[in-house]
Each structure stands twice: as C-alpha cells, then as structure tokens.
C-alpha cells in the first residue's frame, strides 16, 4: 500500500526548492487533500545540497524512501545525479539544464563534472531537460526558475493545473505574481514538449 504520490525536489540552497514545495503543499490544501513534506534548514542551507520531500495524499511520515519516489525535480544537473537513486529504474526526472560546479571541486582538485557526462549518467531515466533560466528570463525574471521547473513537472503531478497556478499566486510575493504565473505556464509548455 503506497497511497501517496511522492515528489522529491532537489537543488542548491538558495535556488527556491522550499518555495516550489510550498506551492505543491498549498495546492493540496486547495484540493482538500492531505500532504506531508520535509525540508532542509539550518546548517545545510548555506549553498549546500538541499532536498524537499513532498508526499501528496500522505497521511503519515514526511520522508520518501530511496527507490520509491514518483517524480524527481532537480534544479541542477549534479544534484539530479546525487539524488537519482530516489527514483525506481526508469523513473521520471525533470531536470534544469544548469550546472553549478561545487567549490569543493576547485578546493580538492576533483574532476570538473560536465553537462554531457551527467546527462549520459541519467539517460536510463525518463528525463525531461528544461532550460529554466531561458524560460524564466522570458517570463520576466531569472529568479522564477523554480516555478518554471514546477510548471515543467506539473503534467506528471496529480494536481490540477489551475490549482497549481492558484497555489503559485498564493505562495509567491505579491509583486511577482504575474512573472511567476507566466513562468509556470512557460514551464508547463516546455514540459509538454519534453526533452528539447
């Protein structure tokens, strides 16, 4: 028995994973559904790898077990690789075509990871690769990349798109409602096109 739809959103502290997960949680409230989620706070936030677990229709714990996520949304290619084991074989990944090289790579002289090799290592998943920066800029602000990503993933999420849009309006700062709504729609269209 697994009654919940489990979404893992991963990225780098500061990229807005918590806001994206808040939108999903708020959408559950609008649809009168239960939800559980878990976030990274404190020490882990300072530019480190962060994860948000969201269990739509969840009624008990907030943590998703590796290998059982229904959807992985990654705001960074390297973070997609770090958390891909949360998906079952062939699972659905929506990933931002964007790579921030961790400072540890320069400090410890590690091999600099590149986009092609990471995408190759993800190729056995059902991948949608999204140019979130470009679409966010088109919507009016590069800061809206998290909502672009949410829009791109929205087709795979069992919540109505109009509910998600309403949740976006409720969760983002008032001044940015228009930009973020546009970002959600552009993301949703890009998600429908799949991997460019």
């Amino acid at each position: 028995m697994k009654p919940s739809f489990d979404v893992l959103i991963v990225g780098i502290g500061g990229q807005g994973t918590v806001l994206a997960s808040n939108v999903l949680g708020e959408a559950c409230i609008i649809e009168n559904r239960t939800v559980r989620s878990a976030e990274t706070h404190g020490m882990a936030q300072r530019g480190g790898s962060v994860e948000s677990h969201i269990r739509i229709d969840g009624e008990l714990g907030s943590l998703i077990v590796p290998g059982t996520a229904d959807l992985l949304i990654a705001f960074d290619l390297l973070e997609a690789l770090r958390y891909r084991h949360y998906l079952p074989a062939g699972g659905k990944l929506v990933v931002n075509r964007h790579l921030v090289v961790p400072t540890s790579v320069y400090q410890q002289n590690l091999d600099v990871p590149d986009e092609e090799s990471i995408l190759a290592a993800l190729a056995d998943l059902d991948v949608a690769c999204i140019d979130a920066a470009g679409l966010a800029a088109e919507a009016g602000s590069v800061l809206a990349q998290n909502i672009v990503m949410l829009g791109a993933a929205s087709r795979h999420i069992p919540l109505r798109p109009e509910t998600l849009e309403e949740a976006v309006r409720r969760c983002v700062p008032k001044k940015t409602v228009e930009v973020n709504t546009a970002a959600f729609r552009l993301g949703r269209e890009a998600g429908a096109r799949g991997t460019p």
Partner: protein, 589 residues
C-alpha cells in the same frame, strides 16, 4: 476550524496563540528557532516575547513569568537544555502557578547539531512530564493543551519535538487564536520559591508525590495508547510511530508512547498480552528500558538487542528493516538502492562575501603554526578552510583556547567566536582567561546577528526580537571591562589592515582581542547594501590558483583561468589576494 499547510514549528507557534501564551522567550537553535521567530512577528501581540542571551537566561525569565501566574513558553534546541539544566532541575521542585512549557527540540542525525542527546532523559532526570509528538498535527494539539497540563500538576512541561516534526510540513487543523490574557502577579511564598535546604526537602517529596497521578493522566489524555491485534507487538514513540504505521501488518499490535513518565501498569498490561515486543524509538532507549522493567515473560527486542540502530534518525526503511529483523514482515518491501558513487560533494559553505572568510584567511596567514579553537555558528564552516581545530559547545572556543595555552602547549592559540556566541557564554571564558593570564588571541567574528539559525537579532544587533531599538552595547567595552587591555576593531574586508592587525597581535603577550566587524552579507543585502561585483582580467590572470585556496563560492575555474560568477557579493578581498592584480571591480579594468 481552518486547515492550513504549515511547518511543524508554525503549527506549534499557532498552538501557543490558541492557548493564550502570555510570555515567550528562547535562544535560537536549529530545529527550534522558528517558533519564537513566528511569535515575534505577530501583529497585535498581547504577550511578551524575547530572544534572550542564552538558554539559562531564557528559561529563568519564562519561569519567573509562570511564577507570576502567566502562561509561559521557553524554546531552545536540545543542547540548549544543557545550558538551562541548572534552573530546570530545581524548577521541578518549585513548580509553577501559570502553565510553563519548555520546548527542547531534539536533532536525530545531528543535521545541524554537535550531538544526538535525548531530551527525554532530562525529563526523567528532573521528574517532569515530557510530551513527544509523532506528527505535526499532534505537535500542535499537544502544545495547545500542554499549558493546562502544566497548571493541573503545577509542573513545567517539557515538549520535545524532533527535526522531522519541527521541519516537516503538513495540513494542520487549527483552532481560534485566544484572546484571554492574564495580568502578572507575584505572590510571595518563600517556602515555594526560596530553595533553602529546609524548603527544598519538602518540595522534593511533593514532586515525587505527583508522579503516579501524572502517569495515569497521560494515559487518560490519550498520549499513551495502544491497540491489541495479535501476539506480537510494536511499541513506538515520536516520529517513529508514523513510520511504523506505513509498514505495519494488520495482525501486529501497536502501542504509541507520546508522553512520559509512562504508566507502568498500563505498559505491563499491554506487554503481558504479547509473546514478543519490538520497541522503535529514535535516540536513547527510553521506552525500551521501561518495557524491560515491566516485561516478565515477553521477549523484548530493540536497541539493546542490536535490532534497532542507536544513532541517527529513522526512515520508513529503517523501521521496515527492524521489523524484518524482529521477524515481522513489513507491508512494503523497500528496494535496496545506493547513491551514485563519485559525485563531487556539495557541503554547506560560507557565502560569497562572508566576513568570516577573509578573517580566517588572515588568521591562517599570520599564525601559520597556530592552534584554532572555534565555536558554534556559521563560522564552524571555516573547518573547510583549515581554520577550525576544535568545536564542542557554545562559548568553548575561548575556554578551550585558554586551556590549551595554559597547559604548556607552545604553539600560539587563536580562538574564533561569533558575536552572539560571545554574548551567550563567551564572556565568562574571556574573564577567566584574563584573570588567569592566558596567552592567547580571541577573534570576535562580529557580523551583528545570529546568522546560522536564521538571522535572529541579539543585543549586539541593536534591535529586540520585536523590532524595537535596543540600548546599544559595545563588544569592545565588554572586553576591556573583562580586563583585556589590547582590543582592536577591524573591517575584515580591508585585508591589508586585517593582516596588519593580526601581525601586531602576534607581537604581544597575554589576552588580545580582535573584533572583526562587518554585517552578515545576507542581512546586508536584505537591508539594501549593494556592492559592485568583481571580475577577473583574463589577460592578467596567470592561473596560479592562489584565489582558489580562498575558497569563495563565487570563484570558478575554467581551463587555466579563474572567473568570478554572479554569486559575487563585492567584498573585494580576492582583489587583494591576487598576486597578479588580475581582479578588479567590474567595468573598471
């Protein structure tokens, strides 16, 4: 009844409002900080709320409010309760008149902590009731009712959420915010509030006499409950109770312990009806020990049989594995999967433009052979820069430093401590170092805020928790009044001056204090301070890699050259570090 999507700590804060809290104090600490942070920004606030200088101070202030008949809340993280342990232990004797809830948030897995201690041990030690919620909704409901429980027994109530309660979100059914607030009145009663031996012996007996009724009440309230379904049982507490329910077969009995002390009769009656009992709880085997004390014929498995891990936090997978070990088939078979190997780590890191980075850089450059005791805060991340040799608890950088210096170790000692941590428990250590003539340098990393826990103000910030301007204090004056004669304040963005200050400190003996003062780069940005970004001139960059060792996240390397990314906060320190003069303010090359 409204249903909202809330963080555990938001639900807890709302419950305080529903319960008519009159007084709230705390010291920030992950995962507890958001409770006071939410209370302090409430509009129309008919209650007192403060960030205190440390947990003992917070505790005693709230205790006094409860002695005046108010409903009082005090919040901290688990290790904060060590600091507040002195008043905690005796407050169980004095008791309270108004409801007093002590929130001490545990952090299994030490996500953001120095240890994995278990607050339930303190409750047992002090003989105080302890509430241990298993979900966000239960955290809300328990805390709402905890003030009344405290008043019923005249005892402080310890409330112990864990990270996965505080920082989980859920749909939460909320009640109405209360409007009945009390007026404080202190009624003199030395036999209650003056714990001289003659009084305290009587109070101790009274405390012990409350225990039996308390245990029964916690069962009546439904905090400790069970359902008998078969000959095998699981007993779970806290968030483990939620995970168990995800994977527990229908024919296995379940008892949930949500409050302590546990009623032995209730527990014995449940245990006796089973052949085997598995106990699942995070951190210490508190429930398991109680189960072992009442079990006669029943087999008990748990941490003490090696079936359940002692350390770290649980997940549904941990719980399913423990069930399988105990011979209970979980309803979900989780796949055995492993993360991809060799992915470069992305640990948390000091921000681009953080004032701690140049301070550590200069410290290490001048004191190449130094020993660097440090403390609790963002600057503990200086570990990655080789600038942190010890960290144990709040304020210990100065005391560990003076201890090393006075033990005969001949390398120079440079201790680093943040402004909030210095005010928390650093001052007695500094006074002691001066008094006992330690030979050491103390660097106060003064970023004007308690940054790591979410930018809470402290007495050095100049505003109170509720945003009112506070009486200015001077770290320099505090150090001088502790007897330090050499105190220098320096802007850490001014690298040449910073290096010169460290060099001058090195030439002297005794306790020397350097105050490196520059607002936290995050609060500076929020308050509208904008600095121009810097850039690398590719013609002049030789790719020497000196700036790489600075460890700024805004400095990247492509092919042979350094580049500065859009993370740059404009501190400009890298421009002073570059030996080729290749770094300059953007557009000025």
């Amino acid at each position: 009844m409204a249903v909202r999507y809330l963080l555990g700590n938001e639900g807890i804060a709302h419950a305080c409002l529903e319960a008519n809290v009159d007084f709230a104090s705390g010291y920030p600490g992950t995962p507890s900080s958001e409770v006071i942070d939410i209370l302090r920004v409430q509009e129309d606030r008919p209650f007192t709320v403060e960030w205190s200088t440390n947990e003992k101070v917070a505790f005693e202030n709230a205790l006094a409010a409860a002695w005046c008949g108010l409903r009082a809340l005090c919040t901290m993280k688990h290790v904060g309760l060590n600091v507040a342990a002195d008043p905690l232990m005796t407050s169980a004797y004095t008791g309270v008149t108004g409801g007093f809830v002590v929130l001490s948030a545990d952090d299994p897995f030490a996500h953001s902590s120095q240890n994995e201690q278990d607050t339930r041990r303190y409750a047992h030690f002090a003989r105080l009731p302890c509430l241990d919620p298993s979900s966000v909704q239960e955290a809300h409901d328990m805390l709402r009712d905890a003030f009344a429980l405290s008043e019923e027994f005249g005892l402080p109530v310890i409330f112990r959420p864990t990270t996965r309660i505080c920082h989980s979100k859920s749909d939460v059914a909320l009640g109405e915010i209360g409007t009945e607030h009390r007026t404080a009145a202190f009624h003199r009663d030395p036999r209650q509030y003056v714990v001289i031996p003659a009084h305290t012996r009587v109070l101790h007996k009274k405390l012990n006499e409350k225990q039996e009724a308390l245990k029964e009440r916690l069962v009546e309230l439904g905090y400790n409950r069970h359902a008998v379904r078969g000959r095998t049982a699981v007993i779970a507490s806290g968030v483990a109770a939620a995970y168990v329910q995800e994977v527990l077969p229908d024919d296995v009995s379940l008892a949930i312990v949500g409050a302590y002390p546990i009623d032995e009769e209730w527990l014995r009656e449940f245990v006796d009806r089973h052949e085997k009992v598995l106990v699942l709880e995070e951190l210490s085997p508190v429930v398991e020990e109680a189960v072992r004390q009442v079990a006669t014929r029943t087999e008990v498995v748990g941490k003490l049989t090696g079936t359940v891990p002692y350390e770290g936090e649980f997940t549904p997978a941990t719980v399913a594995a423990a069930l399988a070990w105990a011979g209970i088939a979980p309803t979900i078979a989780f796949p055995a999967v492993a993360p991809v190997q060799g992915v470069p780590p992305r640990p948390p890191i000091l921000c681009a433009g953080c004032m701690h980075r140049p301070t550590f850089y200069a410290m290490k450059k001048v004191f190449r052979d130094g020993i660097f005791p440090s403390d609790i805060g963002c600057y503990t991340l200086g570990l990655q820069l080789g600038a942190v040799d010890t960290t144990i608890c709040m304020g210990a950088s100065i005391t560990v430093g003076s201890g090393i210096a006075r033990s005969g170790e001949t390398h120079p000692v440079v201790s680093t401590i943040g402004d909030s941590t210095f005010l928390h428990t650093g001052i007695p250590g500094l006074l002691n170092a001066v008094y006992n003539d330690a030979d050491m340098v103390v660097v106060i990393l003064d970023n004007r805020i308690t940054a790591m826990t979410g930018h809470q103000p402290n007495p050095n910030t100049g505003v109170t928790a509720t945003g009112e301007e506070s009486t200015p204090i001077s770290l320099e004056a505090i150090c001088r009044s502790c007897g330090v004669s050499w105190v220098e304040t320096v802007d850490p963005y001014d690298l040449p001056l910073l290096l010169d200050t460290f060099r001058r400190a090195k030439e002297r003996r005794g306790v020397r204090v350097i105050i490196a003062k520059q607002p936290c780069v995050i609060t500076a940005r929020r308050s509208g301070i904008k600095r121009k970004a810097y850039a690398v001139d590719p013609e002049r960059c030789t790719g020497c890699g000196v700036c790489r060792s600075f460890g700024c996240p805004a400095i990247a390397f492509s092919e042979k050259n350094a580049t500065i990314t859009d993370l740059c906060a404009g501190c400009g320190v890298c421009a002073d570090i570059c030996p080729s003069g290749a770094i300059g303010m953007e557009g000025r090359q």
